[in-house]
């Protein structure tokens, strides 16, 4: 075994190991901070909620200002209390130093508009919470970072006689977070352990065994060994971090329980004294079941573990990539084909940034339940996994019952898919067919005024399709449409074009073929120029007839340009939004929607962004399967003369 090889492999192992470790710490640090912040916020919310309750139960004779001062005195961690009465935007009580000498109530100064707006929002949320739908948090909090003194601003609603009156704002000083600082030694210890393990394996000359017993290459075995060691060490780290996380979590829960107990002990009321962020009464302490609270905390832990899993997986892939020699091979390939890569790179770069970033965004979005209403929530709260896909692909309710009748459920994914496929196939067949025939005809030099025909025949492509699509729609009008006039001219009954699924489908198809054949014609005209006349001469001498010439010379020569055009036009037609939207608009009753118009409706009319994204990803997958399949069949990428 080459010493140098081991060296570089070990080095890359150390580097990757360190990277993974740092990623772990960074990732978990985030979770630790979130845990800390959440428990601090929960405490502040409970405190603020209990104070708001007191405020609501105040008798008419008591002064709000006295109560505020009293409350502040009782709670050492409360920096400031401000009470805003919404009507008239009046501050009715405040312990803020600048406000103390003013006479209450006074109007909120102009620069404090955000406070007023927040109070307004809380009012809206409070009203919705009363109806019991559209739960928005009715207690808002925000971290105020004033030079490392961690302050939390909590705003909760208070009521008078059950009616929303105003809000109470607390500025709460939070307990500082204990810092952890023992990670460097941990890292060193673990690294040494890992290296020792690897050394041991190398020493034992395990490598030699493989040639006799396993039919695997050296690199594969090496990467397996390194990966296993890496996995073991990683799991060790994770285990330790998870333990720490659990410990901090139970401390936090204890602190919250203690706070609740203090508040309850100071009151004789039998009513619940605190509400959670959504305005629901939390259970009283004696019935407070810790497991419920634990469960909500457990999601934090799951999040943390999921993060670890992703990190480990990513690091493993990297490790295999480097250790197995793929990296070296890639570098080598780049060196050898520098010129080819340089030629391809610029276009590829633009593609990556402008197509694949949005694509990645769409894919991420599709795993959430994002709608217009919860867009601003953090990603982790919106994450729902594969639910959207299950709902799209698992919806087999092709028929539905309505008013005693069984009708086709046109919103069903599989119906729409069926229509989309019919739409795509028929469009491409007709557009390519017409384009091919026209191109062949126009390539014949005996036809006079070819330039004129060519120019006129690309007009449908040249004119903005918004207007021509609408002209077509007009032509299909039941009473005034030109097409029905022609039908009547020959003595037939006019047709209600948008009335039935098939005729309505035809309206879209006709329009789109009309719009699409010029492009095909131009592509094929271009392709025809690559065929040398000699080939036909030779064929004629051999006695090949017209059809044989076409079959054995024209078609094969067109293939390299025609196949890509066909594949791409399948993709474009599959996602052709405008024509459906403008001409048939999916009539009747949405039967002629295709997948893309459906996705648009879901996204922009129903405002279910994530569901629409999942729809788009499904469209993408279908097309991807088609593309790969077609590519395999026609072998365009590999063809070369």
């Amino acid at each position: 075994m080459n010493f140098q090889m081991i060296n570089s492999r070990t080095l890359s192992f150390i580097a990757l190991f360190s990277m993974a470790y740092i990623a772990f710490l960074y990732g978990s640090n985030d979770s630790f901070i979130r845990l800390y912040q959440q428990s601090e916020m929960d405490k502040a919310v409970i405190l603020s909620g209990s104070m708001a309750k007191k405020l609501s139960n105040i008798s008419a004779t008591e002064s709000l200002q006295d109560l505020a001062i009293n409350l502040k005195a009782k709670n050492s961690n409360v920096l400031d209390i401000k009470i805003l009465k919404l009507s008239g935007a009046k501050i009715v009580a405040s312990t803020h130093i600048g406000d103390m000498d003013k006479s209450f109530p006074f109007r909120l100064p102009k620069d404090q508009k955000p406070f007023f707006d927040e109070a307004k929002q809380i009012k809206a949320a409070y009203k919705k919470a009363l109806i019991g739908q559209f739960l928005n948090p009715i207690i808002s909090y925000e971290w105020l970072d004033n030079n490392s003194v961690n302050t939390l601003k909590v705003i909760s609603p208070y009521t008078v006689n059950g009616r929303f009156t105003g809000v109470l704002q607390l500025n709460v000083l939070t307990e500082p977070r204990a810092t952890q600082a023992h990670y460097f030694t941990d890292w060193l210890v673990l690294l040494v352990v890992a290296l020792a393990l690897l050394h041991l394996i190398e020493k034992k000359q395990l490598n030699n065994i493989r040639f006799t017993y396993f039919n695997v290459t050296k690199n594969t075995l090496n990467s397996c060994l390194y990966s296993v060691v890496f996995l073991i060490v990683s799991l060790l780290i994770c285990f330790q971090l998870v333990q720490e996380f659990k410990a901090e979590q139970s401390t936090a829960i204890e602190a919250i329980t203690a706070l609740m107990r203090t508040i309850e002990s100071g009151s004789a009321s039998t009513q619940a004294l605190w509400i959670d962020r959504y305005g629901q009464d939390m259970q009283r302490l004696n019935t407070l079941s810790q497991p419920v609270y634990l469960q909500s905390m457990a999601t934090n832990l799951h999040g943390l573990m999921a993060k670890y899993a992703v990190h480990i997986l990513f690091a493993l892939v990297l490790m295999v990539f480097f250790i197995s020699g793929s990296a070296a091979r890639t570098r080598q390939a780049f060196k050898e084909n520098r010129q080819a890569y340089m030629y391809v790179m610029p276009a590829m770069l633009g593609m990556l940034v402008l197509v694949f970033f949005p694509f990645g965004y769409g894919v991420l979005l599709s795993f959430t339940d994002t709608t217009m209403f919860n867009e601003s929530l953090p990603f982790s709260e919106r994450f729902i996994g594969l639910d959207n896909y299950l709902s799209i692909l698992g919806g087999f309710n092709l028929f539905k019952e309505l008013d005693g009748q069984t009708i086709v459920n046109y919103e069903n994914f599989y119906w729409t898919l069926f229509i989309t496929i019919c739409w795509t196939v028929s469009n491409v067949v007709f557009a390519v067919g017409l384009g091919l025939l026209l191109a062949l005809a126009l390539n014949d030099s005996r036809i006079k005024f070819r330039w004129f025909f060519r120019v006129v025949l690309i007009l449908p492509w040249a004119i903005p399709n918004y207007i021509t699509a609408l002209v077509w729609k007009g032509m299909f009008h039941q009473q005034f449409g030109v097409i029905n006039q022609v039908i009547q001219m020959f003595g037939f009954e006019p047709i209600d074009w948008f009335g039935s699924v098939f005729t309505s489908f035809l309206t879209g198809l006709t329009t789109n073929v009309w719009l699409g054949f010029p492009f095909m014609m131009v592509v094929i005209l271009g392709g025809l120029q690559s065929i040398s006349t000699d080939m036909y001469e030779a064929a004629r001498i051999d006695g090949a007839n017209r059809w044989q010439q076409f079959k054995y010379i024209t078609l094969p020569s067109l293939k390299p340009t025609l196949i890509p055009a066909i594949i791409l036009s399948v993709v474009w037609t599959f996602n052709m939004f405008n024509v459906i939207y403008l001409v048939s608009a999916g009539e009747p009753a949405g039967a002629n929607e295709i997948l893309i118009t459906q996705a648009y409706k879901i996204g922009f009319e129903k405002m279910q962004y994530a569901y629409a994204a999942a729809y788009s990803v499904v469209i993408f997958m279908i097309l991807l399967v088609y593309g790969v399949f077609q590519n395999k069949v026609s072998k365009v990428t590999d063809m070369n003369s």
Partner: protein, 294 residues
Amino acid sequence: MNKLFETENILLIIRYIFVIGMTILSLYPIFWVLSLAFSGSQSLAITELPVDPSSWDRLRAIIPWPENFSLQNFIDVLTEQQFGRWLLNSAIVAGITTVFGVFLASTSAYAFSRFRFPGRGFGMMTFLVSQMFPGTLMLIPLYVIIVGWLNLENSYIGLVLVYSVTAIPFCVWMLKGYFDTIPKEIEESAIMDGASQAVIFWQIIVPLAKPAIAVTALFSFMAGWNEFILASIFMSEEQLYTAPVGLKFFVGEHSSMWGYFAAGSVIVSAPVVFLFLYLQKYLISGLTSGGVKG
């Protein structure tokens, strides 16, 4: 020999009939657009039919012909807003897109056609795959990239980038297919003569691929020329709007000025026709008189 000559003639006549028929079909809806554009009003006239219309009456009703000719719609479109400026913007954006897109695509396509390198098939697929993700949901992420990260709001470059990326995949595939049909022997002999790779590409391959380059150029141009939504979102200066954005001003929520829109569409499509007139000479090159019979 004589018999063959006859069938040739019949076939030629069939061809004429087909081509002329298709031409009429292509033109018919366009005539409606024209008759609306030149009518001077905002709506299409509906021809009066007598109580018991004959076929002739019906035929008259379906022929697009404005009752009175007027250039008013064109005058209004060009004078009411800075439509000329918008046309120029469109020309610049679509023009750069064409040059930029065709250049990048032809180099990539050349590499795909002539070099064997790891990741070649994957790269080709990547271009194809990029067309598969539906564009409707890309609006916000594209806005984030172009305006947020690259700070290309109100810049032609932002639009050129986006349009090129929509155009390049087709161009790469089309050109790659065409390059494949060019015999390798030509290059090999050039290498023998000591020509550099760049010389081969620019002086041998590109001229030979003129028909395909013409097609891709037309396609790239169209990708930038008629696009509306991205242009109206990335541009926040009236003087930077493109012509399709200007056209869309005539479409309102409940009502639309269709006469203006039609006139504007006719103006907008004129440059495309001229471009095609120019490019089509490359689509007939390589053919000698006597013709190729397909």
